[in-house]
């Protein structure tokens, strides 16, 4: 599961202006609704439900909100760089400024997990995060996220 299969350039928000975790999720749900053509309300609720279980703020300023939607056609990802970091109840207590939303169809099963693992591994790489924070155009961020893994390792 490559990130390019889930993320389209339209799904990248280079400078999202929000002031809280709730607002960030709301705003991302609104954008996601446009991309996946599903009701905004349902998306927001799925994401909030997942946050209630435990934060998706995984540390180092990264958050990966995710969840399953019944009527989705395939896996969808959205990526946002926040203009100012917000408190996300992250495990390391640090404010979050890079958010990657992942929505999966109800039946995605193993693909959902693989895709999540892929995103999580990518964003655990500090050099990638630094580059993401340093670039402010949609295309540059999209290129960074979808760059194949082996060319990055070189």
């Amino acid at each position: 599961m490559e990130i390019a299969d889930m993320l389209s350039p339209e799904g990248v928000i280079p400078a999202l202006r929000v002031t809280s975790k709730k607002q960030a999720l709301q705003e991302l749900a609104r954008r996601a609704a446009e991309v996946v053509r599903q009701p905004e309300r349902a998306i927001f609720e799925v994401l909030v439900e997942r946050e209630r279980l435990g934060t998706t703020g995984v540390g180092n300023g990264i958050a990966i909100p995710h969840g399953k939607l019944a009527d989705l056609d395939r896996l969808h990802a959205l990526f946002a760089r926040l203009e100012t970091p917000v408190d996300f109840d992250a495990i390391d207590e640090q404010p979050v400024d890079l958010v990657c939303v992942l929505l999966a169809p109800e039946q995605a099963g193993a693909d959902h997990l693989k895709a999540l693992a892929r995103v999580s591994r990518l964003l655990r790489d500090r050099s990638v995060c630094e580059k993401l924070r340093g670039s402010d155009s949609r295309d540059a961020i999209y290129a960074l996220l979808t760059e194949p893994a082996n060319s990055r390792a070189a």
């Binding site: 435990g54 540390g59 969840g67 207590e93 099963g109 997990l113 999580s120 790489d125 500090r126």
Partner: protein
């Protein structure tokens, strides 16, 4: 007069060089002990230093002293809670494990050296114990955080196993010197005395020491000195009575360290320093003692013995001893590989030399080479192996840049101070972002030689000092925000425990829905914490993993015997000792061969 001055100059200079070399070595990742040993050799008769030192008696005395202090310090750092999870495997390793290792290594020695079976067994016993100094140093000062049960098992084993090796060595030396006689009786009595006196005096001595320290009114600086002196009395007294002073002093350290000692911080800090000096002194001295060129004739057989010890004897002994316990294969492998040899074997090898056994000096040389090989090969590769086998835990922030001070007795908060560094997470962030846990009170921020007024303080700047009152259990949260983040060279990402984290109280059912976990209906009703403990056992510890369908759950933190936080690995890592592609390629080759066979078979079979 002149001699005294020269001696002082020399020892000061040696210490300075050793400390500076230590700084250098941690930059290149060389095992510190090896550096000290190497420095000793460089200063020795065949190096540029040219110091001639052949006094085995002095070496024995200094070695004992240093070892006693190192063991006591190790005991002080061993908490009861970690003992609870590790005492059983560790004590089995420290007794049966040592005997097995000695027997197997002895067999190797008998095969490659021209020795009587008894003398060969002596060689085995000398190198049988895992070295506490080396293990403590490797596990603590390299900044490695291992899975608690693995790390503690190794620490406790290495702290307690010297008496067994010492007992075996002394018994065998006695037997070699005085022939047979009443062997069985002597052996049983020596073992009983070593362990019995050691345990009793150690436990009682540690308790007494804590009592006395807490009742005595002394100048604050004298408390740590008093504690060290007490430790030395316990060590020396036990040895005089024929018990194992090493066991006694380690146990005394554990007992004293787990009681709330007066001037606790002071004692610990002092001990940190003095344990360092002991490590340096001991290994440098052992480096001085050896004549490197005289090792050459024994090199080949000694290397064979070292190989047998590291690759056969120790692993077998570890696998046998850990049989009854719940360790994963890769954890067993790791424990086997961290069987570092250190000063104790060299120091034990002095006993046959002093006892005047034939070929005593050969035994010494063999032991020396075995230790060098182990330090070189194992010492250098252990951090690498820990990463490969997935034994390492995420680092806690390094406490440099923090100081703490106990206030009065009965007051359960300490005074902590932080020096903000450029790399502290909170540096240059608005002060409002600082998460102040319950019962923590920020007292003041100091900048440029003055106290910053509260209303003028916008953000924390590098080189600020922040003073706070905090209960000890909340200090970690402050550490995370205020201490410089640790930079590790050559690593793109640090080890973490799971892709996502959940509180232990979360319901299993909700998690199962999101991640498709195969759990029973009854398990769906449980909390994550109860669920993990029902599957992993009550005594699970941080880093323990549970495979569940495609994912893996991992214990992130424990509190009061319950799982506090759980991580989830969406794509569990397979511990890989060999290159990742290898297994796949071998399997591919196998498939290819099989397919060819089927094709041929199909060709042979007549069509229906």
């Amino acid at each position: 007069m002149e001699l005294a001055n020269q001696f002082i100059l020399l020892s000061g200079a040696l210490l300075l060089v050793a400390i500076l070399a230590g700084v250098l070595s941690s930059r290149i990742g060389a095992p510190l002990l090896l550096v000290f040993l190497g420095l000793g050799m460089a200063f020795g008769e065949e190096g540029p230093g040219g110091i001639v030192f052949h006094d085995f008696n002095t070496a024995y005395a200094i070695g004992s002293l240093a070892l006693a202090i190192i063991l006591f310090d190790g005991g002080l750092r061993t908490s009861f809670s970690s003992l609870r999870i590790a005492w059983a495997p560790a004590s089995l390793l420290a007794t049966v494990g040592v005997a097995l290792t000695a027997a197997m290594t002895g067999t190797f020695a008998w095969l490659v050296l021209d020795l009587s079976p008894l003398a060969a067994l002596l060689v085995g016993s000398i190198v049988a114990s895992t070295d506490a100094a080396a293990v403590f140093l490797l596990l603590h000062q390299r900044g490695m955080d291992l899975k608690r049960r693995v790390g503690t098992t190794l620490e406790v084993e290495s702290g307690c196993n010297d008496p067994m090796a010492i007992f075996l060595t002394i018994t065998l030396v006695e037997l070699l010197l005085h022939g047979d006689g009443e062997i069985g009786w002597t052996v049983a009595r020596t073992l009983g005395e070593q362990m019995g006196y050691g345990a009793v005096i150690g436990l009682a001595g540690g308790w007494l020491l804590a009592q006395v320290v807490n009742r005595l009114e002394l100048a604050p600086g004298l408390y740590p000195v008093f504690v060290v002196a007490g430790a030395l009395v316990i060590f020396g007294g036990t040895q005089e009575l024929g018990g194992s002073g090493f066991l006694a002093v380690y146990l005394a350290g554990i007992i004293a360290g787990n009681r709330r000692l007066r001037a606790n911080q002071l004692v610990r800090r002092f001990h940190d320093g003095i344990a360092w000096v002991s490590q340096i002194a001991m290994f440098m001295m052992l480096g001085l003692l050896v004549t490197p060129s005289s090792l050459a004739p024994d090199l080949v057989p000694a290397l064979l013995i070292a190989g047998g010890l590291m690759f056969v004897a120790r692993p077998l002994a570890v696998f046998l001893c850990l049989w009854p316990f719940r360790f994963k294969p890769e954890e067993r492998l790791f424990i086997a590989w961290v069987g570092l040899r250190g000063a104790v074997p060299i120091f034990l090898a002095i006993i046959p030399v002093l006892g005047g056994i034939d070929h005593g000096i050969d035994l010494f040389n063999v032991a020396y080479i075995v230790v060098l090989t182990s330090l070189l090969l194992q010492g250098w590769t252990v951090p690498w192996l820990a990463r490969r086998l997935d034994i390492e835990l995420p680092p806690r922030p390094e406490p440099t840049g923090r100081f703490d001070m106990e206030l009065m007795r009965g007051f359960d908060r300490e005074l902590v101070g932080y020096r903000i560094a450029e790399t502290s997470p909170m540096a240059n962030h608005p002060i409002e972002d600082l998460r102040v846990p319950d019962r923590v009170r920020i007292l003041a921020v100091l900048r440029d030689n003055a106290v910053v007024q509260r209303q003028l303080m916008k953000s924390l700047k590098p080189d600020d000092y922040l003073l706070a009152l905090a209960p000890p259990e909340q200090v970690l949260l402050l550490d995370r925000q205020l201490l410089p983040s640790r930079r590790r060279s050559g690593r793109r990402s640090e080890p973490v425990l799971g892709d996502f984290a959940f509180p232990g109280a979360s319901p299993v059912g909700a998690l199962a829905d999101v991640y498709d976990l195969p759990v029973t209906r009854r398990e769906r009703e449980m909390s994550l914490s109860d669920f993990l403990q029902s599957r992993l056992g009550k005594d699970c510890s941080v880093g323990d993993k549970l495979s569940l369908g495609a994912i893996e759950l991992v214990v992130r933190s424990m509190e009061d015997g319950a799982v506090q936080e759980v991580g989830i690995w969406l794509e569990p890592a397979v511990p890989h000792l060999l290159p990742r592609g290898l297994a796949r390629r071998v399997a591919g080759a196998g498939r290819f061969l099989r397919r060819n066979k089927t094709v041929r078979k199909l060709a042979d079979d007549p069509p229906l």
